[in-house]
């Protein structure tokens, strides 16, 4: 078995699951368009996290310039190349705005003084323009980094690697701003009265965590076949595991900060958001997040041996990925299911459909270029680093 066979096998599996999920979602659309859009939105946020988060990791490893990023450079590039598909997947959300966002209804806005004041920002044309800016920026960054990376493969790192490092800093700043505004637009405005200045950071941490967990699981899968079986060592994995631990903590830190401030303030315009999420069954989801998204992975990832164990670390990464989805569901769904926890069948078919199609496209992109950036100036260092 070679890597090509593996990739082909995973690709067809992902595509089959994706098409099945998409067909079921299409049926669901005719049964209940409202539910379709709601399920679509939260699974879409997860996919955005994987692709945009990988773009952020790609830029971070150029910016810091260390050897740790060389092994994940190609998967990050491939995930960043899926961004045009991700932008295309935004179309149903753009169409479904009236089904998702209360501020898009003229009647609701007219009857609500706060929304009248927020209308300058929260209106459909400006919402779409902002989305276009986010995607435009992300796709442009992804295109430039991939183009320069291809040139580095052909002509060597002279000149071009410096350019990538120079763009990485401004690129990450754009990432911070775009993800903050994206979180406010797509998620926070589901409850247009509520506001939290921590919300964007929560999504930045979430995206970075989702994509790192995804990258770890992928690297472990790739390590079963050449060339990765000869390159990837416990030391590389140890570095990635440390990032996973860090981000689990960062996520918990941001989440708790937001909660503590709102809990302590106890103001009528802020606290309802948490009250909705801490009653009617949603409190158990919150508890599951505290344990599964923080306490458990945190305690386990403290172990050095575990971070160097391919299978165990991949297992934890997959659990973290699952908890990321739970977290997004807890952020999004209580606005539609006030006071009572619930899960529609479309909340399962939507992530399977979207995830399958995205994964298939990602694997096609991954297969297009060599798995290791052979002209990376840090390549030798990265290989040396792996040897005990």
């Amino acid at each position: 078995m070679t890597l090509e066979n593996d990739l082909k096998l995973w690709r067809s599996g992902a595509l089959a699951a994706g098409i099945a999920g998409a067909v079921l979602c299409a049926i669901g659309f005719f049964i209940s368009p409202f539910q379709f859009y709601r399920s679509y939105l939260w699974s879409y946020l997860f996919i955005v996290g994987l692709s945009v988060g990988s773009l952020a990791w790609l830029m971070l490893q150029y910016l810091t310039g260390g050897a740790w990023g060389v092994v994940i450079r190609r998967p990050c590039e491939a995930a960043a190349r899926t961004l045009p598909l991700v932008a295309l997947m935004f179309v149903p959300i753009a169409i479904g705005i009236p089904n998702l966002y209360p501020w898009s209804h003229a009647k609701v806005v007219a009857a609500d003084e706060i929304l009248r004041h927020k209308q300058v920002y929260l209106n459909v044309p400006f919402f779409l323009i902002r989305a276009a800016v986010y995607f435009g920026g992300w796709i442009l960054l992804s295109w430039l980094f991939n183009r320069w990376s291809a040139r580095e493969d052909r002509e060597g790192p002279a000149g071009v690697h410096g350019k990538m490092a120079a763009l990485a800093g401004p690129g990450l700043i754009f990432w911070g701003f775009s993800v903050t505004f994206m979180a406010v637009d797509w998620v926070l405005s589901l409850d247009p009265h509520w506001f939290s200045t921590m919300f964007g950071m929560l999504f930045m941490a979430g995206q970075a965590l989702s994509s790192m967990a995804f990258l770890i699981a992928l690297m472990v899968l790739l390590s079963r076949r050449p060339p990765m079986s000869e390159i990837l060592t416990p030391r590389h994995l140890h570095d990635l595991g440390k990032f996973l631990l860090t981000l689990v903590m960062v996520w918990a830190y941001f989440s708790f900060s937001q909660f503590l401030i709102i809990w302590a303030g106890n103001l009528p315009e802020e606290i309802p958001w948490y009250l909705e999420r801490l009653r009617g069954g949603w409190q158990y989801v919150a508890l599951a997040l505290v344990i599964g998204h923080f306490a458990l992975p945190f305690a386990l990832l403290l172990s050095r041996d575990l971070k160097r164990n391919f299978k165990l670390l991949a297992g934890i990464a997959i659990c973290v990925l699952f908890m990321r989805m739970v977290d997004l569901y807890w952020l999004v769904a209580p606005d539609f299911r006030k006071g009572r926890f619930g899960l529609s069948w479309m909340d399962i078919t939507a992530p399977v459909g979207m995830g399958g199609i995205w994964l298939a496209y990602f694997l096609i992109q991954l297969g297009k270029r060599p798995l290791m950036p052979l002209n990376d100036p840090h390549l030798v260092e990265a290989l040396e680093h792996g040897r005990e």
């Binding site: 708790f256 909660f259 503590l260 809990w263 302590a264 106890n266 403290l302 050095r304 005990e388």
Partner: protein
């Protein structure tokens, strides 16, 4: 009269030779080894197998004790010692405790890391036999030393220095107790 000795010490003039020597000595079966170098050498920890020690456990224990102490201290003050109605909240309002609990965890974990490090290294140590070797002062300048202690089960007053000689050192010297 038989002089009691601490061990033997070999001097090398480059880090690679030191790492190779440490590796060779471990392979030979010696366990009571120590190496001295003017700067940290990452491979040396691997060669001497120094990765496992009890420090992480000490830090973990310190962190847990700190966290519990921080939480219980606040619980004692706000629930038992001086109960106050703050904004109609329950006396045991755990979210308010978390920040100090977290800080206390960090504080005691950090203190136990420093103290644990000193304790495990046996510091403060006013006397160490290694300094009986006149050239040892060079360990903080440009020489690299590997010592095998006399308490090693394999240690032999004649065979061990001979073994060190095979590793092509600059010099092998006996370390007086």
């Amino acid at each position: 009269m038989i002089k009691s000795i601490y061990g033997v010490m070999a001097e090398f003039d480059n880090p690679t030779a030191l790492v190779n020597a440490a590796r060779a000595a471990r392979e030979k079966g010696y366990r009571k080894l120590d190496a001295y170098s003017p700067f940290p050498i990452e491979e040396l920890s691997d060669a001497l197998d120094l990765h496992k020690n009890r420090l992480p456990l000490i830090v973990l224990a310190g962190g847990i004790v700190g966290g519990l102490a921080g939480y219980l201290m606040q619980y004692y003050v706000t629930v038992w010692d001086f109960p106050l109605n703050i904004g109609g909240r329950p006396l045991h309002s755990w979210p308010a405790y978390i920040v100090i609990t977290f800080e206390m965890t960090i504080l005691l974990a950090a203190i136990s890391a420093v103290m644990g490090l000193l304790a495990l290294c046996g510091l403060p140590m006013l006397y160490h036999p290694a300094f009986n070797v006149p050239r040892f002062a060079l360990a903080s300048r440009n020489r690299f030393f590997l010592s095998i202690e006399a308490t090693d089960p394999l240690f032999d007053a004649r065979a061990t220095p001979e073994f060190l000689e095979t590793l092509e050192p600059k010099e092998v010297s006996e370390v007086a107790e």
